[in-house]
């Protein structure tokens, strides 16, 4: 074991996701315990493909800046590094640049001059095609082999980083590391591994803390403190009123994972089959027996692209004639809307299109038939979704369907109804459909093949500026 690793290391995880609300009192509590590093991820694929495809963050800038201000103040005061992974929600270059600019702005406002490492993992399409051609890109179920057309259909592609780029940046003296897409686990495991911690406990600690206080009993607090030692790790909430239990900690291995015992990471597998969880004081759980199996180095690719465009309309319906036959009404309405669209818009202009009606309050979530005999609800919300090649065509479809969607009767011989619509104009151009297109890993001999580290050393910049001023 590395001589730098003696009594273990403490990693403060202030929040499950940067921008979600770091608490100053929690950070102060952790820092008072002698923290060695602050680490948090800032995103994931959970919220969908839009953030990678567009390079935009899900969180608003003010919320991320607020959280970073608290962390950067702690960093400057205590001299411990900040490690942020999956910057800007998706970790592509645009997401990373957005986060970098906030950090630079804050450094100016706080009057501090940290040494900042930017870990870029966005991938060049030509490079990926070459790697794929060399047989080094492998599909993960349920997808099949990758082709060039799929690579071209992505607006942005990233390779999820493991601990190695972070360790290299720590070794080179980074005060703040802003990482592109990374496994959540790696962001938290990197510092202990750099200090020589055993890999099993370090990775397992990272998995445990990845969602902040989600591994605790009371989720209203935000962060946790991880202490990685020679033979295991400990986890405690940063809120003194909250506590961890063996159940809350072991159950977190289940979260968003297809396999609760084996977690595949770049360069290996975390295996917790033989992990043992015990309460070591009222608020802290100790975990031993976590193992790391070294494997050939692979990085997971994520790629996202924009597809067709959608326009929405919504109505609320309490009309008893509709509610007594929701399925029949849905089917007749859908047929009429498709006919109306084809008759109102020339085929060469229309292109391939799709209309769906979601009956919220009935089966909006599943789209599947409800059990026979289900009583009518007091009302439903019907959502119209038109999908087409451009926003203009999707809007045109909505405009063509507008009178039918708002007035199509459930019973033909009655006066035309008007369903409850809430705003005018009644159609909502929604933008593009964004989809993930890759579920593949790429085999690399060295992570540096796919990852680039950039440095912004503000202390040098300031010295340089001062030097210029002196010389000038």
């Amino acid at each position: 074991m590395d001589s730098r690793f003696a009594d273990g290391v403490k990693v403060l995880v202030p929040t499950g996701s940067l921008g979600a609300g770091v608490r100053e009192d929690e950070v102060a509590y952790g820092m008072a315990r002698g923290v060695d590093a602050i680490a948090s991820d800032a995103g994931s694929t959970d919220s969908g493909a839009a953030y990678l495809a567009t390079g935009k963050s899900k969180n608003n800038r003010g919320a991320v800046k607020r959280d970073l201000r608290i962390l950067m103040q702690a960093q400057a005061e205590h001299g411990v590094p900040i490690i942020i992974g999956t910057a800007g929600q998706a970790g592509g270059d645009l997401n990373l640049d957005w986060t970098r600019d906030i950090v630079l702005e804050l450094a100016g406002e706080l009057g501090i001059a940290p040494k900042i490492a930017l870990l870029r993992c966005e991938q060049d399409k030509a490079v990926l095609k070459r790697l794929n051609g060399d047989g080094r890109v492998k599909p993960l179920p349920p997808l099949g082999p990758l082709d060039d057309a799929t690579i071209d259909a992505c607006d942005h592609i990233v390779a999820a980083m493991g601990v190695e780029p972070y360790v290299a940046a720590l070794e080179a003296g980074a005060d703040i590391i802003l990482g592109g897409r990374s496994t959540d686990t790696a962001v938290l495991a990197a510092y202990p591994i750099w200090k020589g911690a055993p890999w099993g406990p370090a990775w397992h600690a990272g998995k445990t803390g990845e969602c902040g206080a989600q591994c605790t009993e009371e989720r209203e607090s935000s962060g946790v403190l991880l202490t990685v030692k020679a033979d295991g790790f400990e986890v405690e909430p940063l809120s003194e009123t909250n506590f961890c239990t063996p159940h809350s900690v072991s159950a977190h291995m289940l979260y968003e994972n297809t396999d609760p015992f084996r977690l595949i990471e770049p360069g290996g597998v975390l295996d917790v089959t033989r992990a043992h969880y015990e309460q070591c004081d009222r608020r802290t759980v100790r975990v031993t027996g976590s193992e790391w199996e070294k494997r050939p180095y692979t990085m997971k690719l994520e790629g996202a692209g924009g597809g067709k465009y959608q326009t929405l309309m919504l109505v609320g319906i309490q009309d008893p004639d509709v509610l007594n036959d929701i399925e029949g009404f849905h089917d007749r309405m859908l047929k009429v809307l498709n006919q109306r669209t084809r008759s109102a818009i020339p085929a060469e202009e229309l292109g391939e299109f799709h209309i769906s009606l979601r009956m919220y309050g009935w089966n909006g979530v599943t789209g599947q038939p409800v059990p026979a005999g289900t009583a009518p609800p007091p009302e439903i919300c019907m959502m119209f979704v038109a999908t087409a090649d451009t926003q203009e065509i999707a809007n045109s479809i909505a405009h063509a369907c507008n009178p039918y969607f708002f007035h199509y009767p459930a019973v033909m011989d009655k006066e035309l109804p008007s369903y409850g619509f809430a705003f005018t104009p009644a159609d909502v151009p929604r933008g593009r459909v964004y989809e993930f297109k890759l579920n593949h890993v790429v085999e690399v001999d060295d992570w540096r093949e796919l990852i680039r580290t950039e440095w912004i050393d503000l202390s040098e910049t300031e010295q340089g500026t001062m030097q210029e001023a002196v010389n000038g």
């Binding site: 694929t45 968003e256 994972n257 297809t258 396999d259 599943t366 599947q368 993930f436």
Partner: protein, 102 residues
């Protein structure tokens, strides 16, 4: 005649990346865990029938220490497609609550 909702204290579903959904069935104690976690009613066919997945890819992993079984399957369409209705798949568990286990 026990249904899932009768013998589990908690059932949840969640996306596990853009291509997979994972269900967690937390039984109400070791007795019902032992009795039902490997029930044929929770076999891959159920997930093929309800969610249109490929039964050959369904994973079934019991965690005895937590009296739970995790069942994961690839989504019939990836997260966020044209007809997406449940981006996180967080509501998908509801359809298994009334599945009869014996």
């Amino acid at each position: 005649m026990a249904k899932v909702r009768d013998v589990c204290r908690h059932v949840r579903s969640k996306n596990a990346g853009p291509y997979w959904v994972t269900f967690d069935f937390f039984f109400d104690g070791p007795e019902n865990f032992e009795k039902y976690h490997a029930s044929p009613a929770l076999a891959p066919d159920l997930f093929a029938r309800l969610y249109g997945t490929d039964p050959a890819l369904v994973k079934h992993i019991p965690v005895a220490d937590l009296d739970m079984v995790k069942i994961s399957y690839p989504r019939a369409t990836p997260q966020g497609g044209v007809e997406e209705r449940d981006m996180h798949s967080g509501q998908q568990y509801v359809r298994v609550l009334d599945v009869e286990l014996d």
